[in-house]
Amino acid sequence: MYAFDIERPTRLTDAVKLLSDATDSQLIAGGQTLIPTLKQRLAMPERLVSLGAVDEIKGICTGDDGALCIGGGTTHADVAAGAGAYPALAGLAANIGDPAVRNRGTIGGSLANNDPSACYPSAVLASGATVVTNARQIAADDFFDGLFATNLEEGEIITEVRFPVPDAAAYMKFEQPASRFALVGVFVARFSGGVRIAVTGASEEGVFRWSEAEAALAGNFSAGALDGLSLSGDGMISDLHGSGDYRAHLISVMTRRAVAAA
């Protein structure tokens, strides 16, 4: 790692201030992606601003509208233990990485990083969640912006994610066994107003909604409603773990399993 300083503010306003001063700063949440990145010298910030001591953005509560509100600094382990009102989301959090990683990694950090194989982006997009920052609210459909890119501005901090709780939902992850990231992950959420399906791990553009399958499931929420639907391997990630065609096929399989499990 290159040398840098670390600041550990205890208040959100102080973190925002540090990010806007003249020093080249990088936010760090749980660090489970950033620290390996720093070790490889792929980043060279002058200073890290840690959110680890900012308690006001940690925790889980239920909003007035029934939405499950999760603080941006909440660890995967705490979501797994505390999001019982949304079991598919709690189950997703319980299967990220391994126990020690789940005790450090946070939902806000995962979303801000938007790894194309991360689990959380699929839950946020399929739930039609709202990403709340220190400055504004961003709808899930506007938040993700391709590989490792989001709608967040420089120095903007995810303070909360508000999940509408669906009538039925399930997340099915085909795990890449070495990294435990999703080779393909599909999150299906059925609301009274329709079905939303988000796919992670597959596309070169990151998480995306499978709108044809959403339409097919809207009138008939059963795995059979997906018969005959498939996706092209074009634009899907091809690497040593699987070809684009293989990933496209897995999306169909995992979507069926998720519908059956929801």
Binding site: G31, I35, K39, S50, A100, N103
Partner: protein, 161 residues
């Protein structure tokens, strides 16, 4: 350089660190507590697992500065007060839960975190919890057996494989 202070195995510990100093480096190099091992240094193998405020973390993927004020427990803190092996350590010895021993500190710390949350885990739960701890001697069977014994299971009928 800046100062960091924390409690390690019940005793206050402090030292001069850089921003980039990892918790495992602070433990091993500043405090001389080399029981916590660095295996892969990439957050995969789990040889460096310690407890921070009661939660298992990979000490190679946490900065020492982030442990300011925290209560840290390492493998050195797992023995009984009289110096004899703690229950989990003794079970690892009794059931040969190690071969080369390199992964053992992390295995014991992960086992302790599991048993604190779930005092009576099934074999499946133990294997699931250890997914972030790698033993390159592939001695998993006896590791799992040792943890089952530490949890009070009768493991006498489980044959070595």
């Amino acid at each position: 350089m800046s100062q960091v202070s924390m409690t390690v195995n019940g005793k206050s510990a402090s030292g001069e660190i850089e921003g980039r100093t990892l918790l495992v480096e602070f433990l091993r190099e500043n405090l001389g507590m080399t029981g916590t091992h660095v295996g892969c240094d990439t957050s995969q193998c789990g040889a460096c697992v310690v407890h921070v405020d009661g939660k298992a973390v990979k000490a190679c993927t946490m900065f020492a500065a982030e442990a300011e004020g925290a209560n840290v427990t390492t493998i050195e803190g797992m023995a009984n007060e009289d110096g004899s092996l703690g229950t989990i350590q003794q079970a690892f010895q009794d059931h040969h839960g190690l071969q080369c021993g390199f992964c053992t500190p992390g295995m014991v710390m992960s086992a302790a975190a599991l048993l604190a949350d779930n005092p009576n885990p099934s074999e499946v739960e133990i294997r699931d919890y250890l997914e972030g701890n790698i033993c390159r001697c592939t001695g998993y069977h006896n590791i799992v057996k040792a943890i089952m014994a530490a949890a009070g299971h009768d493991v006498s009928k489980i044959a070595a494989e």
